[in-house]
Structures are given as C-alpha cells and as structure tokens.
C-alpha cells in the first residue's frame, strides 16, 4: 500500500477492472466461435447494460461530469469576479472613511465597513485577485518544477538517491511551517508568498511524478521503445511525459486549493501578503480584533475563501474521476 501524499489522495489502485474481465470473456467467446465449430456452446450472454451513446462535444463532457461542471463553473465565476472587480459596484478598496467605520452591512456598505471605514465588499472582491493569483501561480510553478525533478530522479539513478533524500528532508518540515520559515527570511510580497508556498509543495509533486515514471518504465511499451533503439529523451517526451500529465493535472488542482489556504493563513498571521494589499487573509486579520462585536468583517472573506477552495477541490475530484476512471468509484 502506498498512501503517500499528505492529503492521502493517491491511494493505490490495483483492483481488478470489471471492464477488463468482460472484455476477456468476449474475446474468449469470439475465439470459441471460430475454432470449435463442433462443440455446442451456450448462446452469448445478452447485453446487460443498455447501449449508451455518449453525447459528444464539450457540453456532453460537462453533462457526464457534473462535478467538473459545477466546480469549474464556480472557479470561472471567481476568475470573472477577480478580473471585473472594478466594475462590480466596488469602490477603492483602500479608501479610508474614518467617519463611517465599523458600519453594519447596509445598502451603502453591502458587507459593512471595517475599523478604518473601508468597504468590506470591495476589499473582499479585490481579495479574489490575490487568492487566485497565488493559487494558480503556485499550481503551475510547483507542477513544472516538480515534473522536472520527478523526471530527472525517475531516469537518472545516481541523482535519484540524492534528490529523494533532499525531498525527504524538506517533507519532514510541515508545509505551512516551511512556508512560514521562508517568509520570515524575506519581505512580505505576493511574489515571495508564491515562491515560499511553491518550495513547500515541490517535494510532493516530485514524489508523485517519480512514482509514475518508475511504474511507467516497467511498462512493455517502454521496453519495446527501448528495444527498438529509441533514445532516452524521445522516450521521455513521447512515452513518459504524456502519461504523467493526468495525475499531475489532478495534483495541480489540489495544490492550487491548498496554496490558497496557505496564503490566507500566512496573511492571517502576518507573514504573507503585505497589509496594504486587500487579501482574504489580511481582511480577516484586520477583523480579528473586532470579531466578537462585528463578526461580518471576518465572515465575508471566510465565506469567499471557503467557496473558492471548495470549487477548486470539486474540480480536482471531477478531473480525477474522469481522468482515472479506475479510481472514480473508490475514493
């Protein structure tokens, strides 16, 4: 059993595939039909499952994968909110109005105003930009770097031992603590937050890719490619790389979700995005002092953060189910 990542999402999948056994039986039936004409054989089994004609196109895909449609739709909506934040009836999220501070939610301040009189609605909407930027950037960066490291250690035995020991070392520091430690070294900025979280996520991606590479190297078609004289770089690009993309995409969405949470945590404890930039973690940190009397300052960014992370996680679950149907029924 290899339940390896911290989120335990890549549980082993070695159950017999029912589709395989049915196919095997059909193949056996076909053989018997041809070879043993004199032997009485039972009539072929009737098709138990009614014929399914999958709807083609993008809409059909979404219909067959409601989780992807729902999660993806929510993520898309959040992306729109981030891009069009200035046009969604917001005002300057940093504009101070000391006379109008800590107002309850009203027609003037939809989500109320904070202790400096800033509009919480505008701040929350602009906060979407920080969260999505950090989430997407970390997902992409960690995937690219993790893919490279994973491919190198999967193919070069000498490098493998050294790299994997280093990854073991990095992995024994809890990811959030590692990100906190890295942030303590630098000034708070969105860019540094992205780098710190990426470094904390890289070991898990590298391990995932390395595992996939090692199992692919044992596949007959890779042996065939080696036997027919294909050069290693070509094997990597043509035969290995495409097969790592499915699990990597799924992992990348989970990393995106956890990066958004980590960014909020870092900002919340004062080690993340600089306080001038409205991010969900910052808004919650500012609302903390007042939260027992004015809970809405904390709750609105909290709701947005939770919904966005939920959307990305659902998208990841949907992708996992559709990219790896064998796992779909299990986890």
């Amino acid at each position: 059993m290899s339940a390896s990542t911290a989120d335990g999402r890549d549980v082993p999948h070695d159950v017999p595939n029912p589709a395989n056994t049915i196919m095997a039986r059909n193949a056996a039936n076909a053989l018997m039909d041809r070879n043993a004409t004199n032997v009485a054989i039972a009539p072929p089994m009737p098709d138990i499952l009614p014929p399914v004609r999958p709807r083609g196109g993008f809409l059909g895909f979404l219909r067959r994968n409601p989780t992807i449609a729902f999660g993806g739709g929510l993520v898309l909506a959040m992306v729109c909110v981030a891009i069009f934040a200035p046009f969604l009836f917001t005002r300057d999220p940093t504009a101070l109005a000391p006379a109008l501070r800590t107002r309850e939610p009203s027609a003037q301040f939809w989500f109320g105003s904070d202790m400096l009189g800033r509009d919480v609605y505008s701040r929350v909407l602009y906060g979407t930009r920080v969260s999505l930027t950090v989430g997407f950037s970390v997902a992409i960066l960690a995937s690219v770097v993790g893919l490279t490291i994973g491919l190198i250690s999967g193919f070069i035995r000498v490098a493998d031992t050294v790299i994997m020991r280093c990854m073991d070392g990095l992995m024994s520091i809890p990811p959030i603590l590692l990100a906190i430690a890295l942030m303590a070294l630098t000034r708070g900025s969105v860019q540094n937050v992205i780098i710190a979280i990426t470094i904390a996520e890289i070991p898990r991606v590298s391990r995932l890719v390395r595992g996939v590479v090692l199992s692919l190297r044992e596949q007959p078609y890779v042996d065939a490619a080696v036997a027919s004289g294909t050069r290693t770089p070509r094997i990597i690009i043509r035969h290995i790389l495409p097969n790592t993309l499915a699990p990597l995409t799924v992992q990348a969405t989970y990393i995106c979700a956890s990066a958004m949470i980590t960014e909020a945590i870092l900002s919340f404890i004062g080690a993340g995005t600089p306080p001038i930039i409205p991010s969900w973690g910052n808004i919650m940190a500012e609302g903390r002092a007042l939260w027992q009397v004015k809970p809405y300052i904390v709750f609105f960014p909290a709701i947005f953060l939770s919904i966005t992370v939920l959307a990305v996680n659902l998208l990841g679950d949907g992708l996992r189910d559709s990219l790896d149907p064998r796992m779909a029924k299990r986890v």
Partner: protein, 313 residues
C-alpha cells in the same frame, strides 16, 4: 526484524541532518547583520569587523554549521533576540497548551473519523456514504480558522456554552482544561477527520471484498464484529500511515488555531517570533516540530509489525 529496526532508525539520521542544515541556513541567510546591530550606529567598520570575529561570524558556513549542530545536540538552541531568554526555556514554557491541543485533536479525530469511514464503506453508495464523502470534501475546503470562528461564534458567543478563547492549564482540573480546548480541537480536527475518514473508507472498501470477509459472514459473525474486528484490523496499515502523515496538518493548523483562540502555545510563539523577526526562536520551533514529526512517523513505521504480523522485515 532487529536489523530492520536499526536500519530504519539509522535512515532518519540523514533526514534529520538535512532538516538541521536547512534550519541553520535560515539563520545564516536571515537579513540583518548581528555584528552591525550589536556595534550600533557609531561603530567604525573596523569595530564591526572585530565584533564579527569575536562572535565567530567570520568563519566559513560549514564550520559554523558544525558548531551550531553540536550545540543543538547538547540541547542548546541559542538565545532569543527579543527576550534574551534561552529558546529551550521559551519552548518549555509554551509546550503544554500545544501538546494538549494536539493530543486532544488526535483522540477526537481518530474516534470520529475511523467509524465514519467504516460506516461509509459498509453503506457504500447510500445517503450515509455520500454525506461522509461530502463532509470530507468540505473538511478539505474550509480552512481551520474559518471553522474556528464559526464554532466560536455559535457555541461561545451566541449560545454561551463554552469560553470564547484562552487556555486553562491541565493542573487546574480536567474540565476547565477541556472546556477551553474542545472548540479549538474540533476546528483543528476538521481537515484531519476528512483525511482519515477518506482513507478509511477507501481501504475498507478494498478489504470488504476479500474472501475471508465472505467466510466470516457465512459462519454467522455479526456485522459489527466483521466490520470492526475482521476488516478494520486488516485495513489498519494505510489508516495508521495517514494518521502519521496527517500530523503535519495538525502542526501547521495549530499555529493558526492558537491565534484564533488566543491559546498561549508554540503556535503563538511562532507567530510572535515572525512578527519580531526573532530568528533563533523560529529556528527552534521549526526544528522541534520537524523532529517530532519525523519521530512519530518512525514510530508508526516500526509499529506496523504490531498491526500486521504478515509484515516481517
């Protein structure tokens, strides 16, 4: 078996060495020159140089790492820049709340998550199963501090059943201690419960398809003994592995939970140290947490033989 234990214990030494090297580099790379700070504004470059030499800061990276590592082995984590107290003393003062929080969360999470996963696997495809899986997705998505604030708002502010924040030492009685820790533990346990429930369900589904489960049913064993004795025992290894790996989530989450509930533990210490750029304290806490994490997972690896006598090394 004994050879395996020795090998496994020895294998953690390079890992711990790497962690130490990383944590040392943290202080080494930290911005700000301690010598310049001590010398003050009026000092000439020669003075700064002299102080640097007297502190031993002019020597090479590896020499300094060796010396630092030797002091760590003797239990000396250095002095805090801010309070001038030994870091070990500061950690010792703050360790009880964090340890209490984590142990309570661990007990709570395991006793909720494992039955949840078992029942979801038993009732696969039913509403109960879907509810458990839905809860798991929620647990992964709603961050610790959000759960914390919602729970505190409902049970402490609105219903007034439990204290909003703070910590009562265990020495002052079990119930005051529990009262303060119950909400933080549930908040911290959310992700952990989701993680354990999910892996329990997945492993149980696999185990329940095995022949000996059918045999147990055929001989008339009752349902709960099949689930919790026959099946769960064989599903134990992956579940226990994930419990060990998930401790990383607890450590990260504790930092935030302690901020939300104003618990004076190691998490608060870390946050304060970051705000003050107190590098020796950050170093000490990261080192301690990583050490605990590695040791727990080592213990779990060694304990596999207890859960599964088939595993012989």
């Amino acid at each position: 078996m004994f050879a395996y234990v020795v090998r496994r214990v020895l294998a953690t030494i390079p890992v711990m060495g790497l962690v130490a090297l990383f944590v040392f580099s943290l202080l080494y790379l930290a911005p700000g020159d301690p010598a310049a700070v001590i010398a003050g504004d009026q000092a000439t470059p020669q003075d700064v140089e002299r102080i640097r030499a007297s502190l031993g800061l002019d020597r090479s990276y590896l020499v300094r790492f060796g010396e630092w590592f030797f002091r760590i082995l003797q239990g000396d984590l250095g002095l805090s820049i801010f309070t001038n107290l030994p870091v070990t003393t500061m950690i010792a003062q703050r360790i009880e709340p964090t340890l209490s929080l984590m142990i309570l969360t661990l007990i709570l999470a395991i006793s909720i998550a494992v039955p949840m996963g078992v029942i979801a696997a038993w009732k696969q495809g039913t509403l109960i199963d879907r509810a458990v899986m839905g809860f798991a997705v929620l647990g992964f998505s709603v961050p610790v501090f959000v759960v914390g604030y919602v729970l505190a708002y409902i049970f402490a502010l609105e219903l007034d059943w439990l204290p909003v924040q703070g910590y009562t030492p265990f020495a002052r009685g079990f119930f005051p201690w529990l009262q303060n820790l119950i909400l933080p533990s549930i908040a911290l346990g959310g992700v952990y419960i989701a993680l354990i429930a999910r892996i329990t369900r997945a492993t149980m589904l696999e185990v329940l398809q095995q022949d000996y489960i059918r045999t147990a049913r055929a001989k008339g064993a009752n349902q709960s003994s099949i689930l919790f004795v026959h099946a769960l025992k064989n599903a134990a290894v992956p579940i226990v592995t994930v419990i060990g790996i998930g401790i990383a989530l607890l450590i990260g989450g504790a930092v935030v939970t302690e901020s939300v509930f104003a618990i004076p533990g190691l998490g608060r210490l870390t946050v304060d140290a970051i705000l003050r750029r107190d590098y020796p304290v950050i170093q000490g806490v990261v080192l301690l947490f990583s050490f605990v994490y590695v040791l727990v997972n080592l213990a779990i690896d060694l304990a596999y033989t207890l859960f599964d006598p088939r595993i012989r090394y």
